[in-house]
Symmetry: C2
Subunit: 200 residues, 2 copies
């Protein structure tokens, strides 16, 4: 069995959302699975001195246009959420907790969380919204909030973010196939070529 595709994401990254809607069918076409790994882009931007994309003059305005057009191009529902970006540490911890305890449900949670923020435009950083996402995938929010308040899961996310930074992850989605890194939703065609015909 070929190694899984590593899909490194942040719940506040529009291009991560767009790629998350396409990566599983793409992987499946080539007999691969997807290993989702949450990142906190704030930490990556701090480490690399990058500003938040939408705050860059001129480029920020273009980016919002590009998010929406790239979503239409991919056939994925999209709403530019307000506020943007948001803190995603709670959602990331919940994802990691589910990934450890109930992997199948963690996938459903991931897609529900992304869609809640980027298709419905609801603020995923607010506990009532996160609770609603948990209920959508039949997880008891009270149990989840208790779990992610534990030091163990906080440490788990922190260690993961540090490990990803050490591996050179500076943005998201950051997709690793057979050790080869691809950054951005717009690298999906190169990933497809790689899976189809091997390294190029």
């Amino acid at each position: 069995m070929a190694t899984p595709i590593e899909f490194i994401f942040d719940f506040s990254s529009p291009y991560s959302y767009l790629a998350s809607e396409q990566i599983e069918p793409l992987a499946a076409r080539h007999g691969r699975s997807v290993d989702y790994q949450p990142m906190l882009l704030g930490a990556a931007f701090k480490a690399t001195g990058q500003p938040v994309l939408v705050d860059v003059p001129l480029k920020g305005e273009y980016s919002k246009r590009d998010f929406a057009r790239s979503a239409r191009y991919a056939g994925v529902p999209f709403t530019m959420p307000q506020p943007f970006p948001i803190a995603t540490v709670g959602a990331a911890r919940a994802f990691l907790w589910l990934k450890d305890s109930d992997p199948a449900r963690s996938l459903a949670f991931l897609h529900a969380a992304f869609r809640t923020y980027f298709a419905q435009g609801r603020n995923l950083s607010e506990n009532p919204v996160l609770a609603d996402v948990l209920r959508q995938v039949s997880v008891d929010p009270e149990q989840a909030f208790a779990a992610i308040a534990q030091p163990a899961i906080k440490e788990r996310l922190k260690a993961q973010v540090d490990a990803l930074l050490a591996r050179g992850v500076f943005g998201a989605p950051y997709i690793v196939v057979d050790g080869e890194p691809f950054w951005g939703n717009d690298r999906l065609p190169q990933i497809e070529r790689w899976l189809e015909k091997g390294p190029f």
Copy 2:
């Protein structure tokens, strides 16, 4: 006749080079021509506070890998030149002078200049290299250097850069189709869709 595709570029931009090797056949498939417009990315980066891509920690290293892989993906010869980036004001002035005086030859010059820097890795900011590019397209370097030393052509480039900044151009390639801006070599598939089926 449909309006030309505006292709805004910098001779020191690897993704501009990659797109320049693909845009004319793409445009021709849909009955369009290409209007090349030189930009100076240094001015755009200053206006938007962006650093030079290869200088960004982590992202810079990835980018060099991505330049080469994206070139292989596109089937375009590529060498990472040293030094990089370079000043392209001389080449941009020569291009504009030819565009005004001999449009067909300006296209040949553009491709020869890009290939000299990014396929052969020769430093286009040095006058002997620029002279060689001019000779490749049967332009007398002495005549060209005299022409681009005139205030008129310097003013022409400055006015063009200011106009492009005023239009929101923050990077390159920046490709405008029917008023819709597309940034980056990786937006060529969206441009193809736009030309094929209209706005989306």
